[in-house]
């Protein structure tokens, strides 16, 4: 074996830590889920009070939604209100309604895109805390969105705090590299930033949810009906921002007409058809388009990625 025994041991230790944490998630998550599922069969009581244990689970869930422990998939899964809604629902004993609220909140972040580390609101916080407050306060659709939007904006503070402080750990990594200390680089990439992330996600969310969720729910329930209506209107309008943010990168050149094709097909079919049908039509049209354009693709307007664009934005005058 050409193994450096010292280094090998370090790596497996890192592997063990991640294994232990992942296992903990499963051990805590599944019984909670099963317990919650069995409880809710006949559940109809409107008021949900949040116990400390539930608040801790929600705080932990939000931390996980930013952490690498779910095979690095958190950004695609736990960070999305649709998934967060189900999990909060399970924790609070009403998976069905949690799913529904999560789905409603997720509409705002439908086209959510993270461009070079800049995010327009944090769907994770909106999903986890928004669903919690909506369930605890038994809020309606407009009110659920009302709380999700500012919470999502608040989430950018956490995100920025993370991205800024994490820069410090880069220098720890530099110093470790200078010592040829592989374990040090690994610690700088995992241990320090995750400890910091845990501190700024788990702690505030757990405290806020435990102390404030019912209170905020009550306050929002006290809003006049027309104001809640206005916020529900916002729920219908805000998906436009996410969609437009995505369009910024693909609504270009010879692909532009297809946006209108997709839109009109859906309108004509009365929104009844599954989006997957449209996707299959889209694949067919994409194939035709590229085939017939052939080698002239080069001259067609090239779409750009947000990450490519980010470097350009620093040069461009805003």
């Amino acid at each position: 074996m050409v193994k450096n025994p010292k280094g090998e041991r370090r790596l497996t230790r890192g592997g063990k830590i991640s294994l232990v944490i992942s296992t903990l998630v499963v051990i805590i998550g599944i019984p909670t889920a099963v317990q919650a599922m069995t409880f809710t069969e006949t559940e109809a009581a409107p008021v949900v009070t949040i116990s400390l244990f539930q608040a801790i689970l929600i705080g932990l869930g939000y931390y996980l939604s930013q952490s690498p422990w779910i095979a690095g998939l958190s950004f695609w899964t736990l960070n999305r209100p649709l998934v967060a809604g189900l999990l909060v629902g399970i924790i609070l004993g009403d998976p069905g309604q949690g799913t529904l609220i999560g789905a409603a909140i997720n509409l705002i972040y439908l086209g959510f895109i993270s461009a070079g580390g800049a995010i327009p609101g944090d769907p994770g916080l909106a999903g986890w805390v928004g669903t919690t407050i909506a369930l605890a306060g038994n809020l309606n659709y407009g009110a659920a969105l009302a709380i999700a939007v500012p919470i999502g904006l608040l989430g950018t503070v956490i995100w920025n705090g993370r991205m800024t402080v994490d820069s410090l750990f880069m220098h720890a990594a530099d110093r470790a590299a200078e010592r040829a200390d592989i374990g040090g680089v690994i610690r700088a990439n995992v241990l320090y930033p995750q400890a910091w992330l845990f501190l700024i996600t788990f702690v505030p969310v757990t405290i806020a949810v435990y102390l404030g969720a019912s209170f905020i729910g009550d306050v929002i329930n006290g809003f006049p009906v027309w104001l809640l209506g206005g916020l529900a209107i916002a729920g219908g309008i805000l998906p436009a921002i996410g969609i437009a943010m995505n369009m910024k990168f693909i609504f270009l050149g010879s692909a532009i007409p297809y946006f209108f094709v997709g839109y009109l097909v859906m309108v004509v079919l009365g929104n009844e058809v599954s989006i997957m049908v449209l996707a299959v039509i889209g694949v067919a049209l994409a194939f035709l388009h590229v085939t017939f354009l052939g080698d002239r693709v080069h001259s067609a307007n090239k779409p750009q990625s947000p990450k490519m664009r980010k470097s350009e934005e620093t040069e461009a005058t805003r």
């Binding site: 050409v2 790596l11 991640s18 690498p68 095979a71 690095g72 695609w76 649709l82 309604q97 529904l100 609220i101 999560g102 789905a103 895109i113 461009a115 580390g117 809020l139 659709y141 407009g142 904006l153 800024t164 402080v165 990594a173 470790a176 010592r179 040829a180 592989i182 680089v185 700088a188 990439n189 995992v190 930033p193 006049p224 009906v225 209506g229 916020l231 209107i233 219908g236 969609i243 437009a244 369009m247 692909a255 297809y258 946006f259 209108f260 094709v261 997709g262 009109l264 599954s274 989006i275 997957m276 996707a279 994409a286 388009h289 693709v297 080069h298 779409p303 990625s305 990450k307 470097s311």
Partner: protein, 331 residues
């Protein structure tokens, strides 16, 4: 001490040739998959994650040699940012280059760094267009539909007592995980197998441009469909001209083109974003406009969430019902 040990065992193994094993590659991929955004920071974005992912490779190739290890770690702690799944091809290529370098081929630090920087832009482009631009919104829309957030729920506006189908988020989770992990593994291992020359020749051949163009066509169709399905603007404003009521939405706008308002709104938002408006600024403005649009200055204040019709400019949950029967309105 360990230097000689590793060097000695290295020589006996394969005539001095240092080789990456399959398990090194898989280990490296796993580290990258898990920890790509673990230390995401403004200064160098995914730099430390890249170095972390290279650690099994560095151990194998330079294990025990302190100077080489140090140089390799420093080499990979430079600015790096790409798509976590599609971008894996860069790691594969880098691993192949490191392997060649360790075996004495004249590959400079600069060559490795410039390969990384050269590839990360295009791979982020492909990854973001396909991953964030198409697959995620598509699967989310599917999940949301299965979850049951239909027009029925939105119209009643009351979520209490309503239940969604947990299958929606579960299916979304499974599909998006399969996509991300599958693509990630494929690109990582292919990058290593095919090497730099193949990848750069593919990038130069224009194949990737075709893929991106095809993806944008598909993406535009999907976003168009999502606009129609999920962007809702309802005008409650009714103009009274003598005896006839003219409902602005149904009698004017929908006559021009059904769903004109959501389409116009999305295009307007896109135009503003292209002019450099920040999305958060737009979000705040839109919320204010919605709340102002809901002020009931033209009619009675609504008592229940769905009866705002006619008293404000905008209204939630659906178009105003036809005004013909006056007695079936209330409950």
């Amino acid at each position: 001490m360990s230097t000689t040990e590793a060097a000695a065992s290295g020589t006996t193994a394969n005539d001095g040739e240092r080789k990456i094993t399959r398990s090194d590659l898989v280990k490296s991929w796993l580290i990258w998959t898990f920890f790509s955004h673990s230390n995401y920071n403004y200064e160098r974005l995914q730099a430390s994650a890249f170095a972390h992912a290279m650690t099994p490779v560095i151990k194998r190739l330079y294990g025990g040699d302190k100077e080489e290890t140090k140089e390799a770690l420093k080499r990979h702690l430079v600015f790096f940012n790409t798509a976590p799944d599609f971008g894996g091809v860069i790691h594969g290529v880098t691993i192949a280059m490191e392997e060649q370098k360790a075996n004495g081929e004249p590959i400079t630090d600069n060559a490795i760094t410039s390969t990384k920087t050269g590839l990360m832009g295009p791979m982020a482009g492909i990854g973001d267009t396909i991953g964030q631009g198409i697959v995620t919104p598509l699967l989310l829309a599917l999940g949301i539909s299965i979850a049951g957030l239909g027009t029925a729920v939105q119209q009643s506006g009351d979520l209490s007592g309503a239940t969604g189908n947990p299958l929606g988020p579960i299916l979304y989770f499974i599909l998006v995980a399969a996509f991300s992990l599958g693509v990630g593994y494929f690109f990582y291992t292919q990058g290593y197998k095919q090497g730099r020359t193949f990848i750069t020749s593919v990038l130069k051949s224009g194949l990737m441009e075709k893929v991106i163009l095809g993806a944008s066509v598909l993406g535009n169709i999907v976003l168009g469909g999502l606009t129609a399905q999920f962007v809702k603007v309802y005008v409650g404003w009714t103009v009274h001209a003598g005896d006839t009521q003219v409902r602005i939405q149904q009698d004017v706008l929908d006559k021009i083109l059904p769903g004109l308002l959501p389409l116009g709104l999305v295009i307007l938002t896109w135009w503003l974003l292209m002019r450099g408006w920040h999305p958060i600024k737009l979000l705040v403005i839109y919320v204010i406009v919605c709340v102002v649009g809901a002020i009931p200055f033209m009619g009675p204040e609504p008592h229940y969430i769905t009866d705002a019709c006619g008293s404000s400019i905008l209204q939630p949950y659906g178009p105003c019902p036809d005004p013909v029967p006056a007695d079936t309105g209330g409950e």
